[in-house]
Amino acid sequence: DVKVTQSSRYLVKRTGEKVFLECVQDMDHENMFWYRQDPGLGLRLIYFSYDVKMKEKGDIPEGYSVSREKKERFSLILESASTNQTSMYLCASSPPGQNEKLFFGSGTQLSVL
């Protein structure tokens, strides 16, 4: 079974802190994604990567950056956390062109105080 692991289930940070959210997948998938999920807004794509060291902006990249130094790991970085970044963050991975095989991690609930 594909496993997508997010390093933290719950995280509490202060405004202005630098925050790292880590995601690791064990199925050698090329594509990796970071979404945030907010009530009434569904999942919104922050960044995605289709190969090592490649990244592309999603629909809401402002305030975020990403890093993909190894194929299995995709990190989301909040350079200076703000209260409006309090949200559920979901990482996902898939083989190229096979979104029916998109697998999600269990999510990180981030609270920025």
Partner: protein
């Protein structure tokens, strides 16, 4: 701007009822529509629909796509408390590096 809209946003029914969840979309270069179930945290894949009028079925769940109406429905018959979840609809585009556009989700609650 590409958009996916689900309705209702929330639904509460009794065990044994049949429910229909709706998803409509306005997306350029449509490739497929996908349904996911999110029980606790990680959404899990249910169906992928590419052709209009062909029903996909898995147990008590079924789904169909109507490309003319730019919509899809997800039916659940004889609901059980274990069907309580958020159901997410997403549309895949032909171009754009396989990005999915998600709807807001429908929160379904099944009461015993």
């Amino acid at each position: 701007e590409d958009k996916v809209v689900q309705s209702p946003l929330s639904l509460v029914v009794h065990e044994g009822d049949t429910v229909t969840l709706n998803c409509s979309y306005e997306v350029t270069n449509f490739r497929s529509l996908l349904w996911y179930k999110q029980e606790k945290k990680a959404p899990t894949f249910l169906f992928m629909l590419t052709s209009s009028g062909i029903e996909k079925k898995s147990g008590r769940l079924s789904s169909i796509l109507d490309k003319k109406e730019l919509s899809s429905i997800l039916n659940i018959t004889a609901t059980q408390t274990g069907d309580s979840a958020i159901y997410l609809c997403a549309v895949e585009r032909l171009q754009g590096a396989q990005k999915l556009v998600f709807g807001q989700g429908t929160r379904l609650t099944i009461n015993p």
